[in-house]
Point group: C2
Chain length 270, copies 2
């Protein structure tokens, strides 16, 4: 049978394509991957709208083989829903390869992704360099390998899209030591936190990938009704209020006149 890997886009249940909805309606089982991104609505609303039970597939389920999903797909059509576009990250490549090895037909249904919608920020998508991910720093773990990538993009005049960390269904190790399985509440990195971490790394590395005065554009809930886009210096974005998740950030490289013009509407108000 067919494993449909369906992009849901960025906002709510209305952002699925007609082709995607058709696949969901044909499917006996519907899974939603919920650990790399989140939609702006409740799961129950999605279930109701699609007239299907939607089962959450967490990281454990998907990365440890997705056996349940593949088992189901042998006998009947199954939809695996992904927020954004299914192939914008390699997260789901493994599932697709495994399905093909089992002779399950795979159909990918594309949709808008943050990597495309980032064009909303007024900076030209053609001029974006490699994308980086900024992880939550912990006391003893402050990895900054993204720094060289920003630096390289910057030297080439390119903008850098920064995807910000998400922690969903993280185990509570303290509780586990007491023999209980408990998950921490979900956490989503804000633009403010990302900028704070970036400034810390620049202060340590001092190679001039950016400064507190570098122009950035922070974006929240991209593609949703209440999306918020604010352009300003890193210093300014440290305290700007972006509201609810998801947030992402662009560090501007060389800015061209048409980009200037587009950015005007998003400049921070003082």
């Amino acid at each position: 049978m067919v494993l449909y890997v369906v992009g849901l886009g960025l906002g709510d249940e209305q952002d699925i394509t007609l082709r995607g909805l058709n696949a969901v309606k044909k499917s006996k089982k519907v899974f939603l991957e919920n650990y790399t991104s989140v939609l702006g609505i409740e799961l129950s609303k999605l279930s109701e709208f699609y007239e299907r039970e939607v089962v959450l597939a967490d990281r454990d389920c998907v990365e440890t083989g997705a056996d349940q999903i593949l088992e189901d797909a042998k006998d009947h059509d199954v939809s695996f829903l992904v927020v954004g576009d299914p192939l914008c990250a390699t997260t789901h490549s493994d599932l697709i390869i495994r399905a093909q090895e089992l002779d399950i037909k795979v159909e990918v249904i594309h949709n808008a992704s943050v990597m495309g919608a980032a064009g909303s920020c007024g900076l030209q998508l053609y001029s974006f360099g490699q994308t980086i991910s900024i992880p939550f720093f912990r006391e003893e773990w402050r990895p900054d390998s993204f720094y060289e990538k920003i630096l390289y993009n910057k030297k080439g005049g390119m903008h850098t899209l920064c995807l910000l960390d998400i922690k969903v269904k993280e185990p509570d190790f303290e509780a586990m030591c007491r023999g209980k399985i408990v998950y921490l509440p979900p956490r989503f990195m804000t633009v403010n936190q990302a900028v704070e971490q970036l400034i810390e790394v620049e202060e340590k590395r001092q190679e001039g990938a950016y400064t507190r005065d570098s122009l950035c554009v922070g974006m929240a809930r991209l593609g949703q009704k209440d999306q918020t886009i604010i352009a300003g210096t890193m210093e300014e974005l440290l305290t700007a209020d972006f509201g609810a998740p998801l947030h992402c950030l662009v560090i501007a490289g060389d800015v061209h006149p048409l980009e200037e013009e587009m950015l005007k509407q998003f400049r921070i108000k003082h």
Copy 2:
């Protein structure tokens, strides 16, 4: 009233989102931009499915002010349809800025774009550098400013997405000299032509951005039922058959093991 700028995705009339379809149905006038990309279906089929007359908006119409579109949008809802995502290129920024200056509310409805769907090629989208456009070379006009961009991406280990030229509704200057307005038939650059031009430029520049042995991935009709993806060296792609438009091309930078694994399925057959 509202100017809806609606992404149609990459394939056919089924790739619009529910939100997009809703906007089209609310609109009194519907325009389709048809000079930066094309869908895989006829205009008449689109009209029929949307139950709206769809008016083609060519480059002249959009770039010289889009007066008709904006005039209509003052009095009633208008949809401006764009293949792919509306904000992946700056082409439509000007229309949006002008509408806002006229106090027309603009709502952008995102969709899949080639820049996202290029992730289908098996190379990780995060590792793509700046995107280039390859124009049709003419006898006296062989611009190669894209070369430095590929070189810079390559030195940083990044992949390069190459968008290939489209000529739609180009005036026939010979006929115009005889006083007639005649348009040439549309032309779409193939992967073969793009690779041929790239090799010519490398032979001239000789800075080693790539060679005939460089790994590339050619893609045709991305996101459509019969999409074709073939990975091979430039030499191999010179003669590979990709079929009907649209084509695009990725020049690989550093290839990681998971990418190798994904690419296997697309390797050219000898």
